[in-house]
């Protein structure tokens, strides 16, 4: 984790006679750590760091530049950052030399703390050192894994935030417009698209405070309204204004049956005990020409990262038909999408960031 300090010129006795080298280590920090979430891409952030480095460099000096990665960034991301930093330095008139002979060295370290990516630039000229820093909010790229299995699971992150969400759902008008619905502990948030206007509707759940709050969403659209189950109520919201129209009690438990108004479907588990190493399993709409398929999550508790895998019931037992798609934390809600209209979805609590994340799941055949 740590590396030894290096310097381009050795210390002399005169240097040591009156004060320590650290006393003359002139650390001038130009930090721009924002507390707000940044939407900038890694490239933009790399250029921002390069601009700070360039501003701190002596004019028209040759510099050597080294990029070190001690973070969770992937090699191709580091490559992009490296390229962007060097390009920005050169655009700003900095002569970046390939060798170590330059009088000024720049070491860019890509690090991270529990909250942000933290990138530092150490500019050294002899015993004089200067540091610049920036912090960038992490963003998890949409991921998919590829394998020789018949099915590949793809996940697309729709939402991320610190607020605890119990479930998520989407509803679309069929011609390109969609709404994201998030179930909170005390209400729902409906968002127009992924980044459009949102409205949080506070509702009183029909249960007392719990350390293990439960709830699920089942959303549907009827004309200009969207409906959802909340606790044992069925509620409707005006899609234009995102305001609550009203709620009424449902029949039965867990949302019950609203015949004629709501497609009556739900997630259900396949028969028999879970597969080895698997926990919750839900039946899904079979894909890629298969039949009798189900999605299986891991069997860890809330302290473990999780994964999803597609299985298919065969005469000899269940067989995995996809590789595992890993998530950065436990899956806390899972819908397999048992009808064609339902998009499979998952809610995950990211163990690294502590954020809750809502994912849409999809399946690709034959990759």
């Amino acid at each position: 984790m740590f590396r030894e300090a290096t310097r381009s010129t050795p210390m002399t006795a005169a240097d040591r006679s009156t004060r320590s080298f650290r006393a003359i280590l002139f650390l001038f920090v130009l930090i721009g750590i924002p507390s707000a979430v940044r939407s900038a891409t890694l490239d933009d952030s790399a250029r921002e760091l390069a601009r700070k480095i360039a501003a701190a460099l002596p004019v028209l000096e040759n510099v050597s530049c080294e990029i070190r990665n001690v973070s969770s960034l992937l090699p191709d991301e580091v490559f992009r950052i490296d390229h962007a930093v060097r390009a920005e330095l050169q655009e700003r008139g900095v002569r970046v030399s390939a060798g170590n002979g330059a009088a000024v060295s720049v070491v860019v370290t890509l690090s991270e703390n529990f909250e942000n990516l933290v990138w530092t630039g150490e500019i050294r000229r002899g015993d004089i050192s200067q540091v610049v820093l920036i912090a960038i909010k992490r963003s998890v790229e949409n991921r998919a894994i590829s394998s020789k299995m018949p099915v590949t699971i793809r996940s697309e992150k729709l939402w991320e935030g610190p607020e605890r969400i119990l479930d998520s759902g989407e509803v679309s008008d069929g011609i390109g417009k969609s709404w994201l619905v998030l179930l909170l502990r005390n209400g729902v948030r409906i968002q127009d698209g992924r980044t459009g206007p949102a409205n949080t509707i506070e509702l009183t759940p029909n249960q007392s405070a719990s350390r293990d709050p439960e709830g699920f969403l089942k959303v549907w659209r009827t004309g200009g309204t969207v409906g959802f189950f909340f606790s044992t109520q069925v509620c409707t919201v005006n899609l234009e204004t995102l305001d609550l129209i009203g709620c009424s009690p449902t029949q039965g438990s867990n949302g019950g049956v609203i015949i004629g108004m709501v497609p009556i479907v739900g997630d259900a588990a396949p028969p028999g005990p879970p597969q080895p190493g698997k926990g919750a399993e839900v039946i899904m709409t079979s894909v890629c020409g298969g039949s009798r398929q189900f999605l299986a999550a891991g069997d860890g508790d809330y302290t473990k990262t999780d994964s999803l895998q597609v299985f298919q019931m065969e005469p000899g037992g269940a067989v995995a038909v996809s590789a595992e798609l890993n998530f950065p934390g436990p899956i806390t809600a899972l819908h397999a999408g048992i009808t064609v209209q339902d998009a499979p979805s998952a809610v995950v609590r990211n163990l690294t960031t502590g954020n809750y994340e809502a994912y849409r799941l999809s399946f690709i055949c034959g990759q």
Binding site: M1, F2, N116, V118, A135, F216, S253, D267, G279, G354
Partner: protein, 491 residues
């Protein structure tokens, strides 16, 4: 096993069952698989700790860091604070649902959550909360109540008041008729082992505003030494025990389930530059260069620690690499020779450590060995935790400090205070935080040595062991399941 939201579970919804059966294309019964994965309520959690907490009373807060940390854990079973920190270290409402302050950060107003009751059934009101906080905050704060709020006034700006109130002794309580203290937290005291020895019993607060805890009861044994705790977890006599760094690997080898936090404690040497033997900065630098931190981390702390060049581990700041931990005996000897210390100060340096901390003793001994190698003799002297020293003066103090919160500014402020450093004028910007961490290290008044994880041994029944990243307990969310067969080394 975690719980996953299972909508319209087939077990209790005929339509869902029908659709599920159609999807599977077979006449099978569809069990409600998710019901069994939810946390189970009930059982007794047996917890052991080495420290003794003399009273569950925020007004009697211990000064020694280890005892204060223990008191904080135990008190948090019973009491709540106005604000709390979530898993990310972000401030969240607790007994206060909102707050505001003036531009000078001298007047703070906290609106109290409605409908909260103490475990004895009495209601939480703003006057009760104000009275409790006045006693914890002391006379430099003026705490008063309005109809629905607590108002805190202070003459000097306190921009970090929220972070302060989210940790330490700032719990809300009320004094019952029998003079016992009652809280709004997840548990209430059923039996208290006076003096902190023996078992104390905490039972679930059924009406806790944040939800009932999963276990019915906690049996807490305090003052249990580490060896006894190791035996107890091995023989199934405890569910949660503390593991010092040197026992973690051994426990895992014996098949005990272990869980370790990120590094949350730090060992550092605090040097008193006013002492004649260490007045010269070159001597202090030589001391820093001579210490083999890798041996401390790998051998003494059994790889449960990482060597430190800065005051905080990387997970908090992200720039720990800017503080390299340099080990250079030759250079240390050069510096020492240049300082002329051997001739002018032949007397040994005095190094204090906490005499109740076996790991501190081992680290202090290692430091003494390293310093001896460059020609500095060291007298290692134990200091009791209550501050009654066995030796009159110290040139060096081995400080073990816990990171009580992930807010670098608040944590740094506390750390510098415990190291005897002056509080920085302001810690509001990252630049100021970085500079404040840098200053005592550059002057060699503080020499970071190692960052240490906090480790526990867990019984196979313990589920959802999810303490905050900065250590401690979160026993209200722990539940007990059937023994997990595989054991393993993580919760």
């Amino acid at each position: 096993m975690k719980r996953i939201v299972c909508p319209l579970s087939a077990g209790n919804n005929p339509c869902a069952t029908l659709v599920a059966l159609l999807a599977l294309g077979a006449a099978v019964t569809v069990p409600n698989a998710c019901a069994s994965t939810r946390p189970q309520v009930g059982g007794t959690l047996r917890v052991q700790m080495s420290e003794r907490v003399s009273a569950i009373d925020p007004r009697q807060w211990p000064s020694a860091p280890a005892q204060a940390a223990a008191a904080e854990r135990v008190d948090a079973l019973v009491f709540d604070r106005l604000v709390t920190l979530d898993e990310r270290g972000t401030l969240q409402p607790a007994l206060a649902i909102s707050w505001q302050h003036d531009a000078q950060f001298k007047r703070w107003q906290f609106r109290i959550r409605e409908g909260v009751k103490f475990s004895d059934g009495s209601p939480l009101t703003s006057p009760v909360a104000a009275l409790a906080l006045q006693q914890s905050l002391g006379i430099s704060f003026d705490v008063s109540a309005t109809s629905d709020s607590v108002v805190i006034r202070v003459e000097h700006p306190v921009p970090q008041l929220l972070s302060e109130l989210a940790a330490g002794r700032y719990f809300v309580f009320h004094v019952a008729e029998d003079n016992s203290l009652v809280g709004t937290g997840p548990f209430r005291v059923a039996e208290w082992a006076a003096g902190g020895s023996g078992n104390s019993i905490f039972v679930a607060n059924e009406n806790c505003w944040a939800g009932r805890p999963f276990v019915d009861k906690i049996e807490l044994a305090m003052g249990v030494d580490f060896q006894q705790q190791a035996s107890a977890i091995s023989f199934g006599q405890a569910d949660v025990v503390e593991l010092p760094a040197y026992q973690v690997r051994r426990a895992a080898q014996r098949g005990v389930r272990t869980a370790s936090s990120d590094p949350v404690e730090s060992f550092a040497l605090a040097i008193d530059p006013s002492r004649p033997g260490v007045q010269d900065a070159r001597v202090r630098q030589a001391i820093s260069l001579s210490i083999d931190r890798a041996s401390i981390a790998d051998v003494i702390l059994q790889k449960q620690g990482i060597m430190a060049g800065g005051l905080f581990p990387n997970w908090i700041t992200g720039y720990a690499h800017l503080f390299p931990a340099t080990f250079d005996m030759a250079r240390a000897k050069e510096l020492l020779a240049a300082s002329g210390r051997e001739l002018s100060h032949p007397m040994p340096l005095v190094l204090f450590y906490d005499s109740g901390d076996a790991e501190a003793r081992a680290v202090a001994d290692r430091v003494a060995v390293n310093l001896r190698e460059i020609g500095i003799m060291v007298q290692v002297s134990g200091q009791t935790a209550d501050g009654k020293t066995k030796a009159p003066v110290a040139d060096l103090r081995l400080v073990r400090q816990r990171i009580s919160m992930p807010d670098p500014a608040a944590a740094l402020s506390r750390l510098l205070s415990s190291l005897g450093e002056a509080a920085p004028a302001a810690l509001e910007t990252p630049e100021q935080i970085y500079a404040a961490e840098r200053a005592p290290i550059d002057a060699f008044r503080v020499i970071p040595l190692a960052h240490i994880t906090e480790s526990y041994g867990l019984s196979p029944q313990v589920r959802d062991w999810m303490p905050p990243r900065w250590g401690g307990w979160n026993l209200a969310d722990v539940w007990l399941g059937p023994p997990s067969g595989a054991g393993g080394n993580s919760p």
